[in-house]
Symmetry: C2
Subunit: 118 residues, 2 copies
Amino acid sequence: MTGTDPSAASAADLREQDVERARELLRAERRSIDNIDAALVHLLAERFSHTQRVGLLKAEHGLPPADPSREQEQIARLRELADEAGLDPTFAEAFLRFIVTEVIRHHERLRDEGAETV
Amino acid sequence: MTGTDPSAASAADLREQDVERARELLRAERRSIDNIDAALVHLLAERFSHTQRVGLLKAEHGLPPADPSREQEQIARLRELADEAGLDPTFAEAFLRFIVTEVIRHHERLRDEGAETV
């Protein structure tokens, strides 16, 4: 113990405890985030099974893959829901556009496959 | 009725019924999609409240905003979950990257705000 400062050692211990506590909180937050991500993936899978059916209906009846008026309604509604839920509405809009872009790609593929087989 | 072909009229009626039925199915699918989107927005709001706490913990303890090894683990796990759920794993990965980019932007803002006030 010669040459050491007990109060300094104690301050280092406290810092170590503090960091360990922060790591524990971080692990708990990450477990929650992982659970939410699993739920998001399953909801997205479900969403795509619905848009797949929409795509088939559109392809069967010769309707265009994109539907700008429907998209505008969806964006306005989601921005409002996001605002109420404390989520940045601009992010919610970007998120919907990101998904819709993927959906339209699927619909175009269905239409092109339809055109080749009909 | 003179000059009309009853069988042609009936075929047109059937087509009209068919289109009306398709429209009805489309409306039902869209109602489900709107419900799923509301759930997605609320889960995303919840996810951001967790990442907000992660950002504060990182800013308080001087940890870097991005964490590449954690992101790699999340991507591998989500690709596997997506595959099991019938969702394109490449889309699931793009989706996570899209969200993480937004989260890192938030974390950087927290770090910069911290640097200004501490």
